[in-house]
Symmetry: D2
């Protein structure tokens, strides 16, 4: 049962990555019990980062830990290949990529070719990142059978879909990427890649502890709190809200997202904090 954090990318007000804040944040997450970092994921605004920014993020985090999955996805395969080559020299867990996106109705074989190209050149294991609601593509197990896939991050509300990967790709680790299904994923998959680890890593680590101890009901209570949080965050734009809540829950500044993922206004940040206040207290009671 691994808990992986799709780490946010901290920006300053001008839209430059704040490398120090990224490192500080990663260190804290690892100290709180997170097993690995998913770099340049959706929460990390991966698809909004340039090739250089993606590389810079990897470099920065490599100083902190080697427990890294490096997301390299892009609509320019040349950029993807450069990033893969760059990471070949590094001792990391693996490289990952979401599927192509934006362009509707690409033939399925384009997806297959895309991952084959990555696999062909990479010295690392491959982690597939399936996120149909973002990309428009649901990667079928069939095109993965002949590839050196080590893991799949399936961001999907249907757990039977994640199980399907396990059934069709024996030996491949499957992680669900939804915050609202962590309890279930820990009970049936190889773990989670959950964006809420950015601000409440303790809660998710605690869920795992409770499950290991057989205290399923307590773990489920935590899930209910997480789902209440998720309902609130959605109203503010979930990713933008996380930047505010890292400070609120973990006590240090991680800057801002970068527009068009706009930061919350001061007013919105205040309103968000007020709204989660009762849940925050409950969480602190349950975790400590």
């Amino acid at each position: 049962m691994e808990i992986i954090s799709p780490i946010i990318t901290p920006f300053d007000k001008q839209g430059k990555v704040n490398v120090d804040a990224l490192k500080t944040h990663a260190k804290n997450l690892l100290e709180k019990g997170i097993d690995a970092i998913f770099v340049n994921g959706t929460t990390g605004l991966g698809p909004a980062l340039s090739k250089d920014e993606k590389r810079q993020n990897l470099n920065a985090l490599y100083d902190v830990t080697h427990k890294l999955i490096f997301q390299v996805g892009s609509l320019n395969l040349n950029d993807v290949m450069e990033l893969v080559k760059f990471s070949n020299e590094m001792d990391i867990l693996g490289v990952s990529s979401h599927s192509p996106y934006y362009f509707p109705r690409l033939p399925e074989k384009f997806l297959a070719k895309y991952y084959e190209e990555i696999a062909r050149i990479s010295s690392h294991s491959l982690y597939i990142y399936n996120y149909p609601a973002a990309t428009g593509y649901d990667i079928p197990p069939s095109i993965l059978k002949s590839l050196p896939v080590k893991g799949i991050k399936d961001t999907n509300q249907d757990l039977a879909h994640s199980l399907e990967y396990k059934l069709n790709l024996p030996g491949v680790k499957v992680y669900n990427g939804s915050n609202t299904l962590i309890y279930y994923s820990l009970l049936s998959l190889d773990g989670v890649v959950a964006s809420f680890t950015n601000f409440i890593p303790e809660v998710i680590v605690k869920q795992r502890d409770l499950i290991k101890q057989g205290k399923l009901d307590d773990a489920l209570r935590l899930q209910e709190l997480i789902n209440r949080l998720a309902d609130i965050l959605r109203k503010y734009g979930s990713i933008s809200a996380i930047y505010v809540l890292v400070n609120e829950f973990q006590g240090y500044d991680v800057g801002y997202p970068r527009p068009p993922i706009f930061p919350l206004t001061d007013e919105e940040a205040l309103s968000l904090k007020r709204e989660i206040e009762p849940l925050k207290r409950k969480i602190q009671e349950l975790v400590h």
Copy 2:
């Protein structure tokens, strides 16, 4: 009734833009009666181009014509702003942007802010590019009311949706972006932005001529041919197929798309050409 071409971006095998091929292609389209060029659209692989490539495309085409709508959309607003500023000095029809994409469930006000930022800094008219099937967002007329919108490209199979823009935004020009609805768009909207203009500009110009002459049935017959073509292209990956068909119908080479929009293999290209052969003959009869 304007006919606007969302021009393809020709790449060489290494993924570099072939600026000369782009110019040659644009010249031909204008000679065939196309009214304006939509630069860096979906068919132009806009979302897959870097900021520099987008600028380069504009520069190249500016040598050929000033009838240009410059699509600047990106998931990095800083890049968008740079491109807008760059184009401010140029005498073009306007700037355009698709909405943010990939990130699910962004609050509607993020879309509003995004376009406000562009409008604030641009010296040109604004052309909104609505393409829900690609971006996941359907831009509501309400957020456009206070912006200096000159036109909307609505890529949408529901013509009532395009009409809705016209009804709610008087004075704004509305273009539908679907090849399979050109006949209808010419009969009710301000025109079309249609990717098939890349290889059969004559057919679409002819459709307009026929409509102007009141020969609706003949125009509809051409639409039926277009829709048969569309069915075939879809099987090959429509954008990739267009590169092959420009050569097939217009007689010059426009290179390749760039992976992960993979070029057709030789086999696929051959099979495509065979499949469209009977339609090609019919088109040539009807147009000449």
Copy 3:
């Protein structure tokens, strides 16, 4: 260019069909220029009628006209067959059926078998009723090729979809069923089956007249009014609103829908009438 009315079924407050009101209504529609009546369609609450009610509706309308398409669809094929047999003796335009509905993921061949059974036993031509948003099934042309299909009512916002039927089933008449696309359907298909004929038959007949006279812009203006009306009706529940508007526009009472298609409350009816008042005046100007 046929205009077909999917006639409402008038109920009294107890939920009994008011046969006299149905006849009066049908007579008026025909006098206003409607070509044929679609009996027991969606607007007629077909799927909510018992077998006996469906038969009763046919019988009643048969006194008024033989220009009838008899919708017999049901989730019990025995009932369907009884209705088909019943109508075999009658001199009507044809029988129709929507596809099975409610049950998700029925194999496509179930749809084929369903229509084969109807065709096998019917002495009349077959009108297919395709309404994916209601049934969950989009009937593919392929399963219709070997059946004696005379017409297809395609209730679908994508006109390219309706055209697809025409292209694949030569000789078959295709009608679109959307009120918001009447203008387009008249310009490219064999006509419309439009629920708004229940309260503004004159407008739709006028649209056709204008199109025949080549006054496309005037016909399009009427479409815009229709689409504004459609926006308003949707807020009240479109079918329920039609009962109120028949009285408002045509001057006679057609009773109520039957719950769970609830009638509007007096308050809602009043509010609806107020909201459409400016459009009503404009329509009366344009039609007379």
Copy 4:
């Protein structure tokens, strides 16, 4: 952790309900450990049954057990009310109804009124049946807050959605209706209403036993088998396949579904049996 069976309705070849087969089947399910019977559910072809057939099913099963939830849903509220009144005299667990269906875009308040009417007249507790994929409506917790709801059957692949009901309606029992999520539902909800109980009740009862004993991995292995079965059944039309598999797994005949839910042909039935053979063996090993 309750296990409820949405019992199939056995028909003879002429489409008449075989009451004796229904009773035999119900007795067996209860003997195998099923807690209650959901009468006239989707698997029972509820929406395809007449009012009299729905009542007959209740009557027949009432001879066998009083652990009955009586599904009364229909597109004619008068029929619904008659069935509710009929059941008021009987000592059953409660009445249930799916939402209205088929008619797109009914206002939300129609759903509220529908359930209010049922609640007003029923002497029994209310079980809401939410099945968006079949009905097109996702019943929001808000309209249920003031109603005497005892339980909700949520047929939905997203467990966070089922949890949402629990969070918003304290005290209400929530059951998920998906076969492929039984393991998860038993671990977090009040139980399941699962159609596969019709042919493998032992497996699902065993899953519950394993979970109670803390043998989660073993329960998950059974879920994997169930999901493999589900994949196979889907190809044949899941409901139709269940009729064949009741005989195959439980050893008695339950007749046929009623068209347009067509029975499998002999060939299809044979092919289905062959395909599930290896899973059948595995199941028998694991259960006994």
